[in-house]
């Protein structure tokens, strides 16, 4: 594993820029792995009978923390490891089930320079299954201004996402 992964610089990002889509075929294992990793033991994320009979849904479904983790992976695949998340906001529109192929896409909404050696990049993201919108997400990401900058080293008092 290399430790020299490149990171995107703030000045190279433009408003409207699209992020490369990420596609994943969701299985029951995807749902259960995500639930266990997020310590979510609620039965609708591992017990199909419960999801159908109690929640009125067709199967177990991807939990919210898993969706957040998929979004984080999608964002930092694009930004590189110096990209530092400031905030994320989700709206869940529909559930993601085993058998679905989810596609995450997104684009840059806005870029805002700061005097702290990084700039803010606001992203509009979505998880879709076919034509169906499953979740919307808005995220705010800090990217370094230069190769010498590192948003992770921003003092807490200057970190205002």
């Amino acid at each position: 594993m290399t430790s020299a992964a490149p990171s995107r610089l703030f000045g190279t990002v433009t408003e409207g820029e699209a992020l490369p889509p990420l596609s994943h075929a969701v299985t029951a294992t995807t749902v259960v792995l995500g639930a266990v990793a997020s310590r979510d033991w609620r039965p609708m994320h591992h017990d199909r009978d419960f999801a159908i009979q109690r929640n009125g849904l067709r199967d177990i479904f991807l939990n919210t923390p898993s969706q957040a983790s998929w979004m984080e992976r999608f964002i930092t695949d694009w930004s590189g490891p110096l990209g530092r998340l400031g905030r994320m906001k989700f709206s869940m529109k529909d559930s993601i089930f085993p058998g679905d192929t989810m596609v995450i896409d997104g684009h840059v909404l806005a870029v805002t320079a700061t005097a702290e050696g990084f700039g803010w990049v606001d992203l509009a993201l979505a998880i879709r299954v076919g034509e169906r919108l499953a979740s919307n997400c808005q995220a705010r990401l800090a990217l370094p201004a230069t190769d010498a900058d590192n948003p992770w080293l921003c003092p807490p008092e200057s970190w205002r996402p």
């Binding site: 989700f90 590192n150 080293l153 996402p161």
Partner: protein, 175 residues
Amino acid sequence: MLETIPDSVLALIGQPQYREVSEIEVEAGYIYNSCAATQNANPLFWDRAAAERITGGPIAPPSMLSAWFRPHFWRPGAAGEQKALQAHFDLKRLLELPEAIIADNEMVFGVPVRIGDRLQSAQVVRSISEPKTTRLGRGRFWVVEVNMENQLGQFVGSDSYTAFGYTRTDQAAAP
């Protein structure tokens, strides 16, 4: 469901509840599980040298914030199911809404969460809506916010959930 929100429930709005220290320390095993579940190859979580150079040591993915506060499924001496976000489950019970889903979730990230951290949190009910009807059933939306600090008292993040608690339409219509 209750047509009127009891005063005792309205009084919960804005009041910090359930101040608690997480049952587990932030640890690498769950971080690997999360990265494996999402096939996240970010070297911050796999390459110690990269983590040392970039973040001053190993950290957890920011999106895992809520995981550190979920209770064990079972522990000695505990009775019944252990639940995270207890203020949310309280509202289900107090408003007599048997089902609930999370509609929105907003996370704000502060200082990085590091392996070995022992985090603490408090839950705050921010709002409760008037009755609404959706395709799931009839109920109310509410917002519960969890504010989190590390053992040094530094803000590590907040996690705000908008939930819809409801009675299923088919069940509400049943005799």
